[in-house]
């Protein structure tokens, strides 16, 4: 997977599930990405909440998310 850069802090986003969250919660064709911390802050939730949502999305079989969080 080609890595993305966080729109807010410039951090490199390397995890597939972090990219998947951006596509799931903003738009499938989003051109900008947030790292996990910045996405949580933007959506006014905490990081653990988003990680729990990743588990739910995987259980639902959403192909945006991978099993190894890599």
């Amino acid at each position: 997977m080609k890595s993305k850069i966080c729109y807010v802090c410039g951090k490199e986003i390397t995890k597939r599930n972090d990219v998947g969250l951006n596509k799931k919660l903003i738009a499938k064709d989003t051109k900008i990405f947030y790292c996990l911390d910045c996405l949580a802050e933007y959506l006014e939730v905490d990081v653990d909440f988003l990680l729990e949502k990743v588990k739910e999305f995987k259980e639902q079989g959403c192909a945006l998310f991978g099993g190894d969080d890599s």
Binding site: K24, L25, I26, A27, T30, I32, Y34, K53, G61, C62
Partner: protein
């Protein structure tokens, strides 16, 4: 949490649970058994059948308990062996997939045109019925499950009765929520699902007018007068009867509350978003109380649903994401909306337990989600 997805399912009524619970525990007799424990269960099943029948103006012998709406719809469609079936383009998957199966068997399937209002026109049904000399069945839902539009079932039924064409309505979104009388509607078949009217999941019923019952669905015992064999779900059936009676008793009261709640949502939304940022599908006068399908431009319906969930609000999207790709709403596409619009719709559906205050809070959650999604996309 604010549950605003009552078109998907509803909370089981306490009264229904209280009435039905003994049949899971102490009164667990098989309704076909000859001893008193069984006779007690049989009486409970027949009381529920009578209650359901009375609620829709039918006779008890015209009611067949099923596992839900999909089973009832499939059962009715399976009775067509030849000729033509006429239906709308926005039926529940159990109807359109049933039609697809019929088509493979040589039955001709005809679909009515429907515009963005989301309402079938009686004159289109009449025109098609005049043209199709081999028309066996017309199947049109009473209330669309996604956009909430009420269809002119009584007018269509009156016309079809005069032509001798069988008429089925999937009334899953209408039973227990709108006044229904099968005689006035002129329908031959009506299907319902209990969990949509505060009954339990996994139970429903088929109304089949006397003399036109479809062929048996499951062969075996004599349950459901030999049309659907298998030991009855006594708990579910009793709860179905109790829940339906309760909702019908408060039909107008519930409808008024649901209307007030959806108005509170739309009024508050009007204060928070610009008219160019969203629109509601169908007019209020043509929608079931408590339901609105709202298209938020520039968003994906699924992203909206997820962010609303973060805010503790449960709503649905007509578009689906099963493979990581947004799939547009089949219903909205059929009505002529663009693919982008059909990916951006969110359905809010209130029930008898919701309040106008909750309706306003739902609007605030909508506005929050909209601004987050559009704000992020706008930065690209």
């Amino acid at each position: 949490m604010i549950y605003a997805d009552c078109a998907a399912t509803t909370r089981l009524s306490s009264r229904a649970l209280d009435e039905a619970l003994p049949y899971l525990r102490d009164a667990y007799g098989n309704a076909s058994s000859l001893y008193s424990l069984g006779v007690n269960s049989r009486r409970a099943v027949e009381l529920a059948r009578a209650r359901v029948a009375e609620s829709i103006g039918a006779s008890p012998e015209e009611i067949y308990f099923t596992s839900g709406g999909s089973e009832g719809n499939s059962w009715v469609l399976s009775s067509v062996a030849s000729g033509s079936v006429l239906t709308s383009p926005f039926e529940h998957p159990s109807v359109w997939r049933g039609c697809e199966r019929l088509a493979k068997r040589g039955v001709r399937i005809h679909t009515l045109p429907v515009d963005r209002s989301g309402v079938v026109r009686v004159e289109d049904v009449a025109r098609a019925a005049e043209f199709l000399s081999d028309l066996r069945l017309v199947s049109i839902m009473s209330v669309n499950n996604e956009i909430g539009t009420i269809q002119p079932i009584a007018e269509i039924g009156t016309f079809l009765r005069s032509k001798g064409v069988l008429f089925h309505t999937d009334a899953v979104q209408a039973v227990g929520r709108l006044p229904l009388d099968v005689g006035s509607l002129g329908v031959d078949y009506l299907t319902a699902s209990a969990h949509k009217f505060n009954g339990p999941k996994g139970v429903g019923f088929l109304y089949a007018r006397k003399g036109v019952a479809p062929p048996p669905l499951i062969l075996g015992g004599e349950q459901e007068r030999g049309f659907r064999a298998g030991t009855e779900n006594v708990f579910g059936i009793v709860a179905t009867g109790a829940a339906l009676v309760e909702n019908v008793e408060k039909l107008e009261e519930n409808a008024q509350r649901e209307r007030a709640t959806i108005r509170a949502t739309l009024e508050r939304l009007g204060e928070l978003l610009l008219p160019t940022e969203y629109f509601v599908v169908g007019s209020e006068s043509e929608r079931a109380p408590g339901v609105a399908d709202i298209v938020f431009g520039g968003t994906g319906g699924e992203a909206m649903v997820q962010i609303l969930d973060f805010k503790g609000v449960c709503v649905s999207s007509g578009s689906a994401c099963s493979s990581g790709q947004d799939r547009p709403s089949r219903v909205l596409l059929a009505l002529g909306f663009s693919e982008e619009e059909a990916k951006s719709a969110v359905r809010v559906s209130f029930g008898r337990d919701n309040t106008p205050d909750e309706g306003a809070l739902v609007a605030e959650a909508f506005a929050f989600a909209y601004h987050k999604i559009v704000g992020a996309r706008g930065r690209a």
